[in-house]
Symmetry: C2
Subunit: 103 residues, 2 copies
């Protein structure tokens, strides 16, 4: 419970962080080779690693195939981040009145 509260205030980890800090080092592979194997440009990989762009469903499938993981695990990280951003960066959403409160 306290963890949930804390987690909700903490910005979720961008999937690029995992790729940059864990996956690529463990593979001992350059970004260039990683991009080639994924079938995308070097820039797409670089910008993803540096959290300049979101991890798309298409990229989740690419990673899943290359790394033999479930695409879901990658996309779920991004979705969690997207939700957090919507909650925190769109203050107008707070004006929506729950139906239970107006019934």
């Amino acid at each position: 419970m306290r963890n949930n509260l804390r987690d909700r205030n903490r910005k979720p980890t961008h999937p690029g962080t995992i790729l940059r800090e864990d996956v690529l080092p463990a593979l001992n592979m350059t970004q260039v080779e990683f991009a080639e194997r994924l079938g995308v440009s070097r820039l797409t990989v670089s910008e993803l690693l540096h959290e300049k762009r979101a991890l798309s469903p298409e990229m989740a499938v690419r990673l899943g195939r290359l790394l033999s993981t479930t695409p879901d695990s990658w996309l779920a990280m991004q979705s969690t981040l997207n939700l957090w951003q919507a909650l925190h960066e769109l203050p107008e959403l707070a004006e929506i009145v729950p139906l239970r409160a107006s019934a």
Copy 2:
């Protein structure tokens, strides 16, 4: 297991289906009022109900607030569908060679 295999071949349900078939009828509410309470235009609701567009993270938060549900449950439906579409509608992704197969 058999269910998983079967589920992977079946196109996941669009979140708009649930809104159209279950949520709105249960609320006994017009699309116009639903849209007003969500703070979006009538068209945004109509097109979502008819699966003409995806359910965005922003909309997931709106629905979560209005309906007192978790935004995650809505966004997860869309993510599952997005993944299924990437897997089935982008045949070039099948050309990615898993690292475990080339080691």
